[in-house]
Symmetry: C2
Subunit: 344 residues, 2 copies
C-alpha cells in the first residue's frame, strides 16, 4: 500500500537515487529538490521497506534481548520487566527496535533444540545487528558461539573473556554491605541463601558475603550457606535447610528469596526481625510492600539495561574501534524493618 522509492521518484520528477539521498539525509542534494521530494514523501506517506533496506545495507536496526534457557522461570521476578523497560527506552532513543528471545520452560531437551534453532534463525539469519544477553549461566553455550560468529553483544552481568563486553552492578560490594550491616547489628550466625552458583550474580553475592565475614575474622560455616535459584520457592527450600542450624540473620541474594525465607521462618514460629533478621537484594517493588518491609540492596536495574544498549549501539556504530567495554554500576543498601534496628 505505501508507495516505493520508484513511485516517489516518479511523482517528484527525479531519480530513485535522489529520493534515496533525501531519505538518508545526504548533503549533496539541491535544497529546492530536497524540498520537493519531502513534499511527495509526506503526501504519499512513503516509508522505506525495512527488508529491502536491510538487504542493501546489511543492517537491520534491530537488536535482540536474549534470556536463555531455564532461567525463563525467573520471569515472574519484576527484575526483568524493569530491565526490559530500560532497554526499550534506550532502543527508542537510538531508533533501534527490540526483538525478544525467551525460551520455553518445557523439557530441557526440547528447549535446547529450540534454542539452537532460534540462534540459527535469528543470528545467522541476520535478523539482528547485535544482542544483549541477560541472566545467562556462565557456562551457557551462547557465549562461545557469539564470540565465534563475531556477533556484537553486551552481557548483563560479568563474563570472563577478553572480547566480552559487559555491564554489571557491583554485586560483591552490595552483598558485603548487607552482611556488614547485619554484623554491625551484633549478629554472629549470619546465614546466606545464594543465587544459582553457575551465574555470576550468584557467585558474586556469595563472595560479598564471604568478604564481610572475613573482614571481621569470622570463619565461614558452610552449613550456613544454602543455594537457591532466585525464586520464592527456592528461597523457601533453602530456608528450610538452614533452619536446623539456627541462624540469627539471613542474607538472601534476591528479594523474592527473602520473601520465601520469611514465610518459612514464620511457619517455624520465628519472628522477623526479632528472632531472625532478614536482608534481601534487588529492591523490587515487592520489597517495600511485604511485612516487615525488606532491608535490601538496591541495584540500578533500569540503568543497567539502558547502559547495555548504549554500549551495544556504540559498538555497532563504531565498528572500527576494538575497545572492550566493561561497566560496573554501584549498588546501595536500603535499610527498612526486616533486619531490626537495635544492636543485640
Amino acid at each position: 500500500m505505501p508507495p516505493t522509492l520508484e513511485e516517489v521518484a516518479k511523482l517528484a520528477g527525479v531519480s530513485r537515487s535522489t529520493v534515496s539521498r533525501v531519505v538518508n539525509q545526504h548533503p549533496n542534494v539541491r535544497p529546492e529538490v530536497r524540498e520537493r521530494v519531502w513534499e511527495v514523501i509526506r503526501k504519499t506517506g512513503y516509508q522505506p521497506h525495512a527488508a529491502a533496506r536491510s538487504l542493501a545495507t546489511r543492517r537491520t536496526r534491530v537488536i535482540g534481548l536474549i534470556i536463555p534457557q531455564a532461567v525463563t522461570t525467573l520471569f515472574t521476578d519484576p527484575y526483568f520487566p524493569i530491565l526490559i523497560r530500560g532497554i526499550a527506552d534506550a532502543c527508542n532513543a537510538h531508533n533501534y527496535h527490540l526483538m525478544l528471545s525467551l525460551f520455553s520452560r518445557r523439557r530441557v531437551q526440547e528447549s535446547r533444540a529450540r534454542q539452537d534453532l532460534l540462534y540459527q534463525q535469528v543470528l545467522r539469519g541476520r535478523y539482528l545487528d547485535g544482542v544483549v544477553v541477560s541472566s545467562a549461566p556462565l557456562d551457557d553455550p551462547i557465549f562461545p558461539r557469539l564470540l565465534e560468529d563475531g556477533v556484537p553483544f553486551i552481557i548483563v552481568g560479568r563474563y570472563p573473556h577478553e572480547r566480552a563486553n559487559y555491564v554489571d552492578v557491583d554485586n560483591v560490594a552490595g552483598a558485603r554491605m548487607a552482611v556488614e550491616h547485619l554484623l554491625r547489628l551484633g549478629h554472629e550466625r549470619v546465614a546466606t541463601i545464594t543465587g544459582p552458583l553457575n551465574m555470576c550474580s550468584g557467585q558474586d553475592r556469595l563472595e560479598g558475603y564471604r568478604q564481610a565475614l572475613a573482614a571481621r575474622g569470622i570463619p565461614v560455616d558452610e552449613d550456613l550457606i544454602a543455594e537457591g535459584d532466585f525464586t520464592e520457592q527456592g528461597g523457601q527450600a533453602a530456608m528450610r535447610r538452614l533452619l536446623p542450624h539456627r541462624p540469627t540473620a539471613v542474607f538472601a541474594a534476591s528479594d523474592m528469596m527473602a520473601a520465601g525465607a520469611i514465610k518459612v521462618l514464620r511457619e517455624a514460629g520465628l519472628r522477623v526481625p526479632e528472632d531472625v533478621a532478614v536482608v534481601g537484594f534487588d529492591d523490587i517493588p515487592l520489597a517495600s510492600m511485604v511485612e516487615p518491609p525488606l532491608t535490601t540492596v538496591r541495584q540500578p536495574i533500569e540503568q543497567t539495561g539502558g547502559m547495555a544498549v548504549e554500549l551495544l549501539v556504540s559498538l555497532l556504530e563504531n565498528p572500527g574501534e576494538e575497545t572492550v567495554h566493561w561497566v560496573v554500576l554501584p549498588t546501595e543498601l536500603v535499610i527498612r524493618a526486616s533486619c531490626g534496628g537495635r544492636s543485640r
Copy 2:
C-alpha cells in the same frame, strides 16, 4: 560469513531453485538430490538471509507486541512479564519472532511523537506481519490506524469494533464473583477501587461490581467508587479518598492497588480483614506473599497471551477467511485471608 543459496547450489551441483525448494520443504524434489543438498547445507551451516527472504515473500515471520503510551508505567506489575511469557512461548511454538514496542515515559508530547514514528517505521516499514496490542486505552489512536492500514492484529482486552479481533478474560464475571463474596460475608458498605476507566478492563470490573450490588438490590453509592490506575500508588490514593466514607469492604481492580489500599488502611489504624475486608484482582505472585494473603480473582494471564498469538497466527496463515475471533477466557475467585472468613 554464512554462505548464500547460490554457493550452496554450486557446491551441490544444482540450481538455486532446487536448493530453495529443499529449504522450503517443497515436495517435488528427487529424494537423492534432496539428500545431497541437505548435506551441503549442514556442512556449510547455510542459513537463509531473513531480509532477502522477506523481500521476496513479503512476510517477515515477526509479530509485534505493542504496549502504548503512558501505560508503560504499569510495567512493574508482574502482569506483563507473565503475559509476555505466554506470548513468547506461543511465538516459539509457531516459529515466529517477537518484537517489543514500548513507549518511553517521558513528557507526553515527545511520547506521542515517538509513538507515531515507531508506528510508521515498524508497521508501514513492514517489519511486522501482525501485532498484539495490550493494555491500550479504548480511545487509543492505534486502533483506527491499524484498521485503516489493514494490519492484522489481536487485542488483549475488548474493543468494540466489528473488524477487531480480541482475546479477553471475563472481567465482569470475575468482579461480580468477588463482590458477591463480600456481600455474602455480610458486608453492606462495599467500596471499589477501579482501574483506569478509559480501559475496558477498568470499565468491565466496575460493571461487575455494579451487577453484584444490583443483584442484591443494593443501590450504588458513588462515594464508594474511586478511580485508580492499577498501580500501588494509585491504590493508596484511592483508598485515602474512600476512607472518610467508612466502607467495611473494598474490592480493588488489581492486586497492586489492593496492596496499596491495605497499606493505607493500616496507617489509619484499621485491621485487615477484621475492620475492613479487601479483595484484589489478578492473582499475581505478590497476592499470596503479602500479609494477609490476598483474596483475589485469578485470570489466566499466560494463556491469554498464548491465545492472542494463536489467533494472530491463524489470521496470518489463513488470509482468505474473514472470520472475526472473539475469545473470552474464564476468571476464578481465589479465597485467602484478606476478606475474612466468617459472616458478620
